[in-house]
């Protein structure tokens, strides 16, 4: 019984923290957007009926109230069941991931009590697989929203979203496979503890896996260089074009949760989770004070990654859809393969000969990984196409004129351009 109560308390605290975080991250996002554009951003909304502005911290509450009290218009042409189901599915998929986020263990110091595990589902052996499942379920919300809206822009957005999420799932998995291969476990808390105890975060040891994971996680979250499912300039609003009021808010909050999820995963798997050198210690069980300190360290790390996500939005232009697909299927999957190959060879051949996770095994692995990273990057750059043919495709022009198709036209044209 106490187990149920404990879990309920954890869920309540985490859900409350996540909702508040999502609301305030919207404000942070708007601030950063403004600062990058040399503006000041929202700084007016404070305590109502007074002149106290407190830096605009009342803005999320005002935004939330506005969306709650807005009319929830349901267009007549939608599929009611799917239309109502989609926001719920999206939200559930976005929140479910947090069930396995480990924040260490706290010893409350009460006699007879075991240390409390600061995870909703503690000691979950298949946590990484659960992460995949929950993350992959997000695509259902997107595609059901697009289909149920019965609107071509929504459907376009949903199709793009589905294609993108499925494409980037593969490099994401490859990076995780590499990581699980190295750690020898699928439990996230063990991966974090390993990083804490060795003091070497996975980003230092596996740069290639980090780069692949970071890009893929950004794409999974639909952040700006990869926000093809909801390009305002092309698709009105993408899959949530037909939504308004609370349902729209559910989608927007889920999107922010996806971003936080991506940041949380990056921090847990590559940036050492709650661990910080000389400050947090390395043993998983900690006293109440140290446990709180670890949570603070963890949150600061997550916020730093989120901050980088928000800067990314204003740094690089959105990819074209073919570029997006090419990025996933060509370099990222290859890089993930390279990383997995390195670690598989490591495990099968090298590790039985020396002791793993220590001297001199770890520096050598780091060296191999870094040289693999640099070589892969240089090789990818070297074989990248230096020339793009922007002229109309001659074969299609012929086809449009009613002439029979001849693929040699295309080849001749390309050869012409590339030789000049």
């Amino acid at each position: 019984m106490s187990f149920v109560i404990e879990t309920c308390i954890k869920i309540a605290v985490l859900l409350g923290a996540l909702m508040t975080a999502a609301a305030y991250l919207v404000l942070v996002e708007r601030w950063i957007a403004a600062w990058v554009q040399d503006r000041l951003g929202p700084n007016r909304v404070g305590i109502p009926l007074t002149n106290i502005r407190i830096l605009g911290l009342g803005q999320p509450i005002a935004d939330g109230l506005k969306l709650i009290f807005k009319e929830e218009f349901v267009p007549g042409h939608v599929d009611r069941v799917l239309y109502n189901l989609a926001p719920i599915l999206t939200f559930v998929a976005a929140v479910a991931v947090y069930a396995v986020v480990p924040l260490g263990q706290a010893d409350l110091g009460i006699a007879g009590w075991a240390p409390v595990d600061l995870t909703i589902v503690p000691k979950f052996d298949a946590a990484l697989i659960f992460l995949f499942a929950a993350n992959g379920a997000a695509v259902y919300g997107v595609i059901i929203a697009g289909w149920g809206s019965n609107n071509k822009y929504s459907l376009f957005g949903a199709m793009r979203g589905a294609a993108q999420l499925i494409a980037y799932e593969i490099p994401l998995s490859l990076a995780l496979v590499a990581l699980a291969c190295y750690a020898g476990t699928l439990r996230i808390d063990d991966i974090v503890t390993q990083q804490a105890q060795s003091g070497v975060w996975n980003i230092i040891l596996h740069p290639l896996a980090f780069v692949v994971f970071f890009i893929a996680a950004t794409a999974e979250a639909g952040r700006l260089p990869f926000d093809l499912p909801e390009t305002e300039q092309e698709l009105v609003g993408g899959f949530h074009t037909e939504y308004s009021g609370m349902r729209l808010m559910t989608f927007l909050v889920s999107e922010f949760l996806h971003m936080i999820t991506a940041a949380v995963l990056i921090v847990l798997l590559f940036l050492g989770g709650w661990h910080l050198w000389f400050i947090t210690g390395a043993e998983p069980v900690a006293g109440v004070g140290l446990a709180l300190l670890r949570i603070v360290v963890f949150v600061i790390k997550v916020l730093a990654v989120v901050f980088f996500f928000m800067l990314m939005r204003w740094s690089w232009p959105r990819f074209r859809f073919d570029q997006l697909m090419a990025l996933a299927w060509k370099p990222l999957i290859s890089w993930g393969m390279v990383q997995v190959t390195i670690l598989v060879i490591w495990y099968a051949w090298w590790e039985p000969r020396v002791t793993a996770h220590g001297w001199p095994s770890m520096p050598i692995l780091g060296l191999v990984n870094w040289s693999g990273f640099v070589l892969t990057w240089v090789f990818t750059s070297a074989i990248a196409r230096p020339h793009y043919n922007n002229r109309p495709r001659q074969d299609l022009v012929r086809l449009a004129q009613g002439l029979p198709y001849d693929s040699s036209d295309l080849n001749r044209e390309n050869a012409e351009v590339c030789n000049t």
Binding site: W35, D38, L40, L311, S315, W316, H387
Partner: protein
């Protein structure tokens, strides 16, 4: 124009260099630009508390005013040139014989519909006596349509409000003329007067 016309000059992009293909310099370039702007000075004007500063308020086209002459009378001679020039037809004048001996007509009613006005400044250009001018006041608002029709009294009060920071055109012309003739010693004509004895 046909695609194979000889008049078309196809411009192809130059091939990407190795550093461009590695994407790393471009990646850093984007990030540095973002950071530079993130830390740069913000240009937002916090409007109700602080107001936008014009480099030259005289050339701004804001709310109109009706100028007064030296004796405080309305300068307008009710010639209808501004109403004729107005492309939005927002100026409404009713003329009457002037009560003063040195002026033939004067406006009894002078209404400008600020909701129709497009702030083009044509009335200011057309006025032969520099009576109507556009000021640098830009926060124009009202609670009803009637309130937004500015009558003569309102337009004259705008003049009273703005005459100090934006002297009327006829006054500026007079000052310029006096400076040119050397009647007034001012900062502007001191330098040429120093040059003239040496010539």
């Amino acid at each position: 124009m046909k695609r194979d016309s000889s008049e078309i000059r196809w411009v192809d992009e130059s091939p990407l260099t190795m550093s461009e293909r590695s994407y790393l310099p471009l990646f850093l370039d984007g990030l540095t630009t973002t950071f530079r702007h993130l830390l740069s000075r913000k240009i937002t004007v916090q409007f109700p508390e602080e107001r936008h500063q014009f480099p030259d308020p005289v050339i701004y086209r804001g709310v109109h005013r009706l100028n007064r002459d030296e004796q405080g009378r309305v300068k307008c001679v009710a010639c209808f040139l501004c109403a004729t020039a107005c492309p939005a037809h927002c100026i409404d004048i009713v003329a009457a014989p002037s009560p003063w001996p040195d002026q033939e007509k004067y406006p009894v009613v002078f209404n400008i519909d600020m909701l129709r006005c497009i702030f083009c400044g044509m009335c200011e250009e057309a006025c032969p006596v520099d009576a109507i001018e556009l000021t640098s006041l830009y926060d124009l608002s009202g609670k009803s349509r009637d309130e937004m029709i500015f009558d003569k009294a309102k337009l004259l009060s705008v003049y009273d409000q703005t005459k100090d920071q934006e002297p009327p055109g006829w006054l500026r012309a007079k000052q310029e003329l006096e400076e040119m003739l050397g009647l007034v010693e001012s900062e502007g004509n001191r330098e040429p007067s120093q040059e003239s004895p040496s010539e």
